[in-house]
Symmetry: C2
Subunit: 438 residues, 2 copies
Amino acid sequence: MRQVNVGVLGFGTVGTGVVRILLENKTILRARVGVDLNLKYVADIDTQTNRGIALEPGVLVNDAFRVVNDPDVDIVVEMIGGEGIAKELILKAIENGKHVVTANKALIAGHGNTIARAAAEKGVDFGYEASVGGCMPVIKSVRESLVGNRIHAMIGILNGTCNYILTRITEAGSSFSEALAEAQAEGFAEADPTLDVEGFDTAHKLAILNALAYGMEINLDDIYVEGISKIDPVDIAFAREFGYKVKLLAIGKNNGGSVEARVHPTMIPFADPLSSVSGSLNAVSITADAVSRVMLYGRGAGMMPTGSAVVSDIVDIARNLITGTTGRIPIFSYQPEAIRKIPILPVDEIHTHYYFRFAALDRPGVLSKISGILGENGISIRSVHQKGRKSEGTVPIVMLTHRAREADVKKALGEITLLDIVSDQPVLIRIEDENGGD
Amino acid sequence: MRQVNVGVLGFGTVGTGVVRILLENKTILRARVGVDLNLKYVADIDTQTNRGIALEPGVLVNDAFRVVNDPDVDIVVEMIGGEGIAKELILKAIENGKHVVTANKALIAGHGNTIARAAAEKGVDFGYEASVGGCMPVIKSVRESLVGNRIHAMIGILNGTCNYILTRITEAGSSFSEALAEAQAEGFAEADPTLDVEGFDTAHKLAILNALAYGMEINLDDIYVEGISKIDPVDIAFAREFGYKVKLLAIGKNNGGSVEARVHPTMIPFADPLSSVSGSLNAVSITADAVSRVMLYGRGAGMMPTGSAVVSDIVDIARNLITGTTGRIPIFSYQPEAIRKIPILPVDEIHTHYYFRFAALDRPGVLSKISGILGENGISIRSVHQKGRKSEGTVPIVMLTHRAREADVKKALGEITLLDIVSDQPVLIRIEDENGGD
């Protein structure tokens, strides 16, 4: 074999990154891989825009189906995104016996089980390293480097938009909407940021990681998702006083018979290396029996970092082609027959630490009533802070709890809300702190 | 293929970790790999010590050659260490057509070129993920995840003993010898710590990483190595005042026609995530054209973390065996014919930032003389700090420089040492600070 023919579908941001790496680093890729990765096609409906890249004549085409149907194409790289035409093209490519690489987390989180089955039946490889964590080798680490480990927990900062916004609120005291506008101006947030700021993008990634780590069928629907759009800077400021930063975390834990899968703003201690991951950077911390803890850190998005992950998949498949192999590693880390439906623990059943903020009337006995209700519901208070900052006749009472059950917490907060001494809904932020006591 | 037969040579710390993972996580390994990784032999001259592991009868043997000569053994795992019998056994195993896994960085740094040639000739795989960074997937990241990248620089904290000692000096104000004694008591340092504290272990790892990243023959001899045994706590305290921590860093940079390869105590800014890697933890930061920067973080040594990396190699090879493949990835990342002898830049030729401390007599004109000599040698001073802390009639003068050439620095310090206003040798610590100016 002298060369491997690659067809890229979608000449947008990440597609352009992949094309640039294949062309600009052609020599170093050949020195490492031993064959040429030949860019045979780039397909996009927009063939006019100048992307600053000189393609050979005939490479740029406007019909993606021409690529997936060309017998000379070995690897199809889907960079279109979304669950419509991208899915159709991927399934067609697989049907035609082509290996597929994608960064499409929404598609995998929604239809990964179907795609994996189709790929396994056809005996083709399916790479998706770029779907989680951009250039951080998260998928490879879970599927390969940690293969001998029983994974206990994964905690990730997996959305650069949210991390940028939370960093700005923390460091510059911006409001959510100011920080969002900045993120949009800097190119770190889309015009419609819903998918990112409401946590759905992070949930897609967590659905994939949980499947890989725990051998479960991909389950997006049961993940608990809470975004950052309701974050009040005052809580980020209080968090800092207690030694915590607020991050949007993807939390995937293995409880034995069930799995925790949740995405929400979370307080983490300064001492945790995740707390210093700032701006648009991503990181993931994996706790497992043999390694204790390993952490990856890098750019989770962007043309070249995501392109780098896509190219690593292209090379993995090229190496299989060169050595006449496919299916070396099961697509979702476990042998298909070993994959089970593992239930996700309802969020009401989780046990964790909590931060509460109540807007309480400045009257005697308020604290006693609130703590009484918490106590009746089995919630043990770690510390109470009555802040002198009056606002519209109320004072904030901030509490940190020991480990408590979420259902009990919600019941207690419901009862407290009914008290005539508390105005507004209480604020609840979960805390991820190994040293937070039991 | 129903099972892959593994023979472990050496039942010490890491060998025990490998055996424990293979036995304790047998079920999860089978679910992921699809076949059994059968522990056929563990060889050690000490067959009496109880390591708390129940081996099947006949598994524990005292003759390692019996393992490498047994036709049933598919993968030989060398966990003996050192360059004597370990090398002989590895070469014999390769000669017998067996795939080999090792964690032996001294052996690879010293004889890697020979071993790789033998393995390539015999068409067997050679895994050594555990030789650098313990459970951090450094080798896999460089060889596979970053395959599309031109790597510019690697900066690593690759020795847990040194990092533990420097952390204790920084946090507890211990002297080097106190911190070393603590490290020994905690099991983080050997009885003879020379290999670790003098930087040689780190140099072995850097020799391997440079080869993988830059496509050069392994070259241990030309790496500049300076350990931490002469570190004075006073310089760590001063560093903190300037916003720096002192770490023993492995620095491998690609300058185009030459490569920088050096191991020495280094000041790095607090803002650099490497600065917060404390205790016995390891981390490596890789800068490359597509990813910008990616960082790995985890335990660089120890029974189970290192065992985890060894098992990931065993599985990689098992997957090759199952799918009938070998040589999928070139042993040292580049195709053998693409590997060149790239010269390592002599340390005198590097340009970096410096920290100096002079013990100066408390007389007028001292600063002017010192800075005059620096200026004559083309060294530009970023800041000067005259500390009021007299000691035996001298005051410390601390200086930070802009980027300077090491040969000029040494010449200037030599001239300054000859001044009768300076007692003792000046202290020189290199600074790795992207924002340190030109």
